[in-house]
Symmetry: C2
Subunit: 165 residues, 2 copies
Amino acid sequence: MVKTPYIGKWISCLYRTGQSFFDYHLGSYGLGSGNGYYACFTYLFRHEGITQDTISKHVAIDKTTIARSIMKLETLGYVVRHIDPIDRRAYKVYLTEKGRALQPIIEATLTQWTTSLTHGLTPEETQMAYILLERMTQNAIITKEKLSSQELSRSEPNETTFINN
Amino acid sequence: MVKTPYIGKWISCLYRTGQSFFDYHLGSYGLGSGNGYYACFTYLFRHEGITQDTISKHVAIDKTTIARSIMKLETLGYVVRHIDPIDRRAYKVYLTEKGRALQPIIEATLTQWTTSLTHGLTPEETQMAYILLERMTQNAIITKEKLSSQELSRSEPNETTFINN
DNA sequence: AAAAAAAGGTTGCTATAGCAACTATTTTTT
DNA sequence: AAAAAATAGTTGCTATAGCAACCTTTTTTT
């Protein structure tokens, strides 16, 4: 890898090799390299009966991507969706037995990837990596929100622009 | 973002928001969200006349992706390719004037993204983030290489498997 | 020197994921 | 209560990027 002072390059490489890793280890379950699947799964492992939109917002992935991920997971028999009788626009998403059976496998793979990445780091460095990545992610989300609000800001001039400072 | 002990989630978010960022800032130059473009550019800014394969290996991006990136950059008039007279399989890639004119713009955008991500971090933390990301990326590449060599290891039993330890 | 293997690139195919625009409900305005 | 706006989800489209297979040229074996 070339040395440049740009973080994006490392991120990009980590993302892409991660995709290969997940595809390699979980491809046989019908899941491929899609981060969307694992985002949905890890969220569903903790919060069943939530809507796609809730997942989308909590994992910071576009609702279209979540919709298609859930669609695939439903086809594969890992989740079921029931229309929310109170809000008939929304689906509540539940894991099936088959889906829940995947929990240890998915968690093991995610852990394994994390472990691979932090190989050779001290526990303190690993901890630090977590914290820094989390903070950078927060910054990334804020930056993106600023861009979106700037796009709208012709009609409703700068008001939302500084919300996330 | 949901709190889980998996690094992949932060990486994924950073990667995707980064794509949006580049698309937003550089889309008007015909470059979109493709990390491949910026990898090619930043490498070409320092090393002109190299082959696609060299780029591919140095930036750890599949040669197919590099090929298509370069193809697009050629169409857009940012690079030219000349067959290497010594090795007629290979193309040597050069920036055009138009391509070189993009250097400050691309570098500014890459820097801006890095700056956005590290907002609120101390210089030491930023430095730490760099180092840790770099080390994790090295681990990622090694892990991936291990997987590839395992796939081959039926024909030529484990020999290459431990090379990268 | 011929055959085999490796290397540089390309093509075909696939999965992923975002954006814009849309439908259908629900909520808020007025 | 009607109109407007917001929300949940889907469809269409696009760009990105990897893998497998392939072609061509070069290098290595034998």
